[in-house]
């Protein structure tokens, strides 16, 4: 898919965005600000026209069969799209009616959703008086009035506290359990890790990496050896030691007093470093091996200029 915004920069919009999501699975779309996540969702939700290329949602073409696509999708936009003057309950009832529920069904569904999203107490308050998290939950509730086979969720938990985030995740999971296909964008890698079966990383309107969370983590090549040092340690000595086992650039986090070393042969590296540290009379506070986090993959991929070349061989 290609989409260029009039007046946008060269990289803005979509530049050869390509994505396949298996029916019934959850796809996480990750990307930095301005990567084109919202643009992609808006195109797929028939809100924005493509310049070129084509897209099918639930088997229908977004351009030529927009109405059928709309019958099959639910959309939770990046910013809560609810009526601020009306109460939460009135919003739910209105959207229930627009989904052609009978007035009794709409009432019932509204109350059930208010209960499910912990909004029952604020049900009759105008939305303008809701907190950001309450709005987000109401917004999600509105899109769950009926259960379309495909659900688009654009950054569902931005600005939510951990409890709110968990509630939203639970709601999305219950939808997934019902067989809904979900396309989710997020800034939080943990969220993608938690919810998504497959993750596509997006940069400048293009997918630069795609795979399961584990595959992506493996794509950085090998594991990380974390060494947490006492405050007064001479880091240069440690650096000299770890350089011999490092398979890539070493990351030093001065605040946490931690050095992270990418390694290929995990146990040998661990033993080598432990022995050398002991010889140098340095006693680390912690010494551990771990898989790279998605954050590291994300930062690695989005900060390099030719990401495609780097990742493709390993995937």
């Amino acid at each position: 898919m290609r989409k260029h915004y009039a007046g946008g920069t060269k990289d803005a919009g979509l530049n050869g965005f390509d994505l396949t999501v298996r029916r019934g699975s959850v796809c996480g779309l990750l990307g930095p600000n301005g990567a084109g996540k919202t643009t992609a969702i808006r195109v797929l939700a028939t809100l924005l026209e493509l310049d070129s290329g084509q897209a099918q949602v639930a088997g229908f073409d977004v351009t030529t069969q927009a109405r059928q696509v709309r019958e099959n999708i639910g959309l939770v936009g990046q910013y809560a799209a609810i009526d601020e003057i009306m109460s939460g309950r009135q919003n739910l009832i209105m959207f229930g009616r627009l989904n052609h529920l009978s007035s009794r069904e709409a009432d019932k569904r509204a109350d059930a959703l208010l209960e499910q999203f912990d909004l029952a107490e604020a049900a009759r308050l105008p939305v303008a008086k809701y907190s950001g998290g309450m709005r987000r939950r109401l917004d999600l509730a509105v899109s769950l009035i009926v259960s379309p086979p495909v659900l688009f969720v654009d950054e569902p938990t931005t600005g939510l506290d951990p409890v709110g985030r968990r509630e939203v995740w639970a709601a999305i999971r219950s939808r997934v359990a019902d067989g809904t296909t979900v396309l989710l964008t997020t800034q939080y890698l943990e969220e993608a890790d938690q919810l998504a079966d497959r993750i596509s990383m997006l940069k400048a309107g293009r997918v630069i990496a795609e795979g399961t969370p584990d595959e992506l983590k493996g794509a950085l090549g090998g594991d990380w050896l974390d060494i947490v040092l006492p405050l007064d340690t001479d880091k240069s000595v440690v650096m000299r030691i770890v350089e011999s086992v490092a398979s890539g650039p070493i990351q030093a986090d001065d605040e946490a007093n931690r050095i992270s070393v990418p390694v290929i042969e995990r146990t040998r590296a661990l033993v080598t470093v432990a022995r050398a540290l002991a010889d140098a009379q340095i006693e680390p506070q912690d010494l551990s091996l771990r898989r790279p986090t998605l954050d590291e993959v994300f930062i690695h991929l989005t900060s390099t200029n030719e990401p495609e070349a780097q990742l493709e061989p390993t995937l």
Binding site: L47, L75, Y79, I82, D83, M86, S87, L144, S147, D178
Partner: protein, 275 residues
């Protein structure tokens, strides 16, 4: 958990029925707004009365009418027309707010006829304007304004006013969809007053400089104001220009022209929202 889903969304027979039902659901949203924020809508309805009092009482004394006719009787039909025109602001703000807040997008991504959203807006704004007009007419009667013609002519005048409002509505929808944000809305709002003054709402156009007078005569607002002054048999210094002699015709033609221009533009704007 969701077995209670609507099964038949679009059997062709009922598609038109659903269009009307959806439009009414969307229109009812505005009625709910009124209930939640009665202050705003009441100010909206009573604001024209304040203007009428201001011009009628404060300035009216300084405005001499030929043949000693009552300025207030001249003014009130102008106020009715102006009130219809002022509806532009309400429509534009409502449409722009919905677009900015993403509510319009949510509607657009739903499997309902695009016309339902626009029709809902129309219904809500027409109801609001009709109530506002009724309140202003009652206030006018209390303050001494009367119509002197037959009731049918008076009803025809009300019809012309609502037709003007309907045309203005589409301008409002178009501007509301095109406006980039509250700033552009505000700049249009500022223009509403000069457009009202550049008409025969408050004074006869013959008292204006020639060029401005001609522009004012061709202002659609003037045609409606003149036409309803004739229908209500209220004073309205007839001029000699063609546009004045054919005011009743133009009070129908102008709105139709505006609708012919702005209705398609609005529908296009709605479809292309966000480009």
């Amino acid at each position: 958990m969701n077995n209670a889903l609507p099964a038949a969304r679009t059997t062709p027979i009922s598609r038109f029925g659903w269009l009307l039902a959806d439009a009414w659901t969307i229109a009812r949203r505005d009625l709910q707004h009124w209930r939640q924020q009665p202050g705003a809508v009441i100010v909206n309805w009573f604001f024209p009365i304040m203007i009428a009092l201001m011009f009628g009482l404060l300035f009216g004394g300084a405005i001499a009418m030929p043949d000693g006719a009552s300025y207030f009787e001249f003014l009130m039909p102008g106020m009715f027309a102006m009130t219809m025109f002022f509806g532009l602001e309400a429509t534009m703000i409502a449409v722009n707010t919905d677009a900015a807040k993403g509510i319009t997008d949510r509607f657009r991504a739903m499997p309902m006829n695009a016309a339902a959203v626009l029709l809902g807006r129309c219904v809500a704004d027409m109801i609001s304007s009709a109530i506002g007009l009724l309140i202003l007419m009652v206030a006018g009667v209390l303050l001494g304004w009367r119509w002197h013609g037959p009731l049918t002519a008076a009803l025809a005048a009300v019809g012309l006013l609502l037709l003007l409002r309907f045309a203005i509505l589409w301008i409002g929808i178009f501007l509301g969809l095109s406006a980039k944000g509250p700033e552009s809305v505000a700049s249009v709002q500022i223009l509403i007053w000069p457009v009202s003054f550049l008409s025969n709402v408050f004074v006869d156009t013959v008292t204006m400089p020639a060029l401005l007078g001609t522009i004012a005569q061709w202002n659609p607002l003037s045609s409606t104001a003149t036409a309803i002054r004739q229908l209500f048999v209220n004073p309205g210094w007839r001029g000699q220009a063609w546009i004045i002699d054919n005011a009743q015709l133009m009070a129908v033609v102008w709105p139709l022209i505006l609708i012919a221009i702005f209705l398609p533009l609005s529908v296009r704007g709605y479809r292309k929202l966000g480009r």
